[in-house]
């Protein structure tokens, strides 16, 4: 199954006689919609709800790009991809942007021919253990059996952590997230490791979420960001500044509810941002109303976060590193001028 999909992607790579290196914007406009690669099975990040409507932080990021390009956040087709498929799918031009909780690394930006835009979620790898084991720290995990969520940097981080602490462990790697969860909740492993946000999502679907605790150690840096292909600077700018616009809007206090009122604001920063003073959109090759459309239809970063993964959702995540820089977090947009 997975293999077959992978083969299809490979054939797609082979069959593309000439991959269009520049002009993703023109391609997307000609198609009339954006093709976004997503995970598809991580609650809170990208997953269809009961009615089949895509929901999540990554989904909303892709919608924001569509709003910027088309003025319509719904002109997106979502392509669920496994960890193995995602990079070839982007490289081959099957998708226009990858919003699939993907960690920015040096290898991916160089050898894999990709560019990461501004981070849309700062994450880190952690451990989830059953409460009854009575473990307080990841350093007590010597000899443990560890269920590893299929991810790219996850297996390596875990191996590095155990190696550097001179501990032995046994990984159980299952490709299907749902199967791995079942095995972990049934006690096949002593602990489950993945990005902390994903662990929160897994715990929320446990038979009894209160029986599991996240250990305090965060063993890696996982800056998750949308990805585009190398070599198309205009498209990179559009996706990058779309993410920044989400953050900037939160900082300026513009929300989906008050954005119409904000059009009349006297603040020159807000006027430039919303296109009341024209220029910013043109520079990107977009309509000057691009940022207005994003905020009106999708909301600012804070709204997206609280709606999908915040404390009032089943994931119940604090803003933490993902708070604005003015509130002790890392979310910091470059100036819009």
């Amino acid at each position: 199954m997975k293999l077959a999909k992978l083969l299809i992607v490979m054939v797609a790579v082979l069959a593309l006689a000439s991959v269009s290196m520049a002009g993703t914007l023109d391609d997307v406009r000609a198609k009339g919609y954006l093709r976004a690669g997503v995970n598809g099975s991580v609650f809170g990040f990208s997953m269809p709800d009961k009615k089949g409507v895509w929901k999540g932080l990554d989904v909303d990021t892709a919608k924001a790009v569509a709003a910027a390009v088309f003025g319509d956040a719904n002109k997106v087709k979502f392509v669920p991809l496994t960890a193995v498929q995602r990079l070839p799918a982007l490289q081959s031009g099957e998708i226009d942007v990858l919003c699939r909780n993907t960690t920015q690394t040096l290898t991916r930006e160089t050898k894999n021919g990709l560019n990461f835009v501004h981070v849309n979620y700062y994450d880190g790898q952690g451990f989830l253990v059953p409460k009854k084991l009575g473990i307080k720290s990841a350093k007590e995990l010597d000899g443990a059996t560890v269920c590893v969520l299929p991810g790219t940097t996850t297996e390596m981080n875990a191996a590095d952590y155990f190696r550097s602490h001179g501990m032995k462990w046994k990984p159980v790697v299952i490709e299907n997230t749902a199967e791995l969860n079942k095995a972990f909740f049934a006690g096949r492993c002593d602990c489950l490791t993945s990005d902390a946000s994903q662990l929160a999502a897994q715990r929320s679907v446990a038979p009894n979420p209160k029986d599991y605790v996240l250990l305090p150690e965060i063993i890696s840096k996982e800056p998750l960001a949308p990805v585009v292909r190398h070599g198309d600077d205009q498209w990179y700018d559009i996706v990058n500044w779309t993410v920044m616009a989400l953050i900037e809007a939160e900082e300026l206090g513009i929300t989906s509810k008050n954005v119409d009122k904000m059009l009349k604001s006297k603040n020159p920063q807000i006027q430039r941002f919303l296109g009341v003073t024209p220029g910013m959109g043109k520079a990107l090759g977009l309509d000057d109303k691009w940022a207005y459309n994003i905020i009106k239809q999708v909301g600012n970063y804070g709204e997206i976060f609280e709606r999908n993964v915040g404390v009032n959702t089943p994931l119940g995540l604090e803003r933490g590193l993902n708070a604005l820089w003015t509130k002790g977090g890392l979310m910091y947009a470059a100036p819009f001028r």
Binding site: L3, A83, R108, K111, N112, E155, A158, V173
Partner: protein
Amino acid sequence: MSRQEQAAASDPFWLDPGKRAIAYQVGVLCMVGLLAYYLVSNTLTNLEKQNIASGFGFMQKEASFEIGESLIPYSAADSYGRALLVGALNTLKVSFIGIILTTLLGTIIGIARLSSNWLVSRMAALYIEVMQDVPVLLQLFFWYAIFYETLPSPRQALNPFSGVFLTNRGVAMAVPAAHPCHKYMLAAFITACVLAYLLRRWARKRQEATGRYFPVVPVSVAAIIGLPLAVWFIFGAPLEMDVPRLQGFNFKGGITLSPEFIALLLGLVLYTAAFVAEVVRAGIQSVSKGQTEAAMAIGLKPGQVLNLVILPQALRVIIPPLTSQMLNLTKNSSLAVAIGFPDFVSVANTTINQTGQSIEGVALIMAVYLIFSLSTSAFMNWYNKKVKLVER
């Protein structure tokens, strides 16, 4: 020179069907070659254009991921090449053991299917129908789930016999503690096997020449069991066992079979055995009943009828489809990814994940399965040739 030959020599080659066939074949070969060249060069150009690294240079780099079970020493500090070797050996392990068990079980069920006992034959039929009709992936999930859902955690391990512990982390068993006599016992075992083979050849020759019968089977079995046992006694019969004991999270010592391995083996064997049973049944039924009756009429015992008359003829029918079932089992073992057994596909997937070199990774997966399958079928073809009806 006859007139016909003369005509053939002077005709242009396109009028000669033999030469024309060669020309067509060369043409097709050229087209296939060109297509392959186009695909490869196109891929390489595109990869280069997108600044994607290609080639197998990554094989020497440090893998930095751990593998759950391995036949050879492996740690995260070893190279991708070694990690892939570990995966290939795991695939080989499960396929090899699986093929042997499948052949045994399939033969037993196939014979049971033909039994004159109503209950036995219906039970075998039921088994075959159920196992053949449930997709093997579902069977794997089923056995895996049974394992981790029903068995207790290591701290409450089931202990059905002394030295055997059943837990949701696997089956831990006691094994004899390492002792220098083991390698001599192995040598004795191999010697006994060789002796049995020579004995069989000698007995056959003598029977053909003189008609005198020699009881090869009991003597061989006695030698194969007795010789290593004798060596063991010479060393003073060391009885020390390496018993698994609970330490920290899990059992240490003895040998442990992981739930993933057991579930995969069980799923593959039970599924494929149903097909093998049908193959065996068809083979035996292909030998006409008259043969059995004739053999009985000349006074052969039932065992001799099976060994000397029916099996040699049935095997000709059984071997080719049996080979394809063995290949199926090997290829189906790649479903291991679904239940977390670190087979070749699983390790290659992680490698692809980390290096981003999916084309090389998938090419390797294809190459490894091709090698496994071709060697299996080469061996089986050799065996098939041996049992083929010798026409006189």
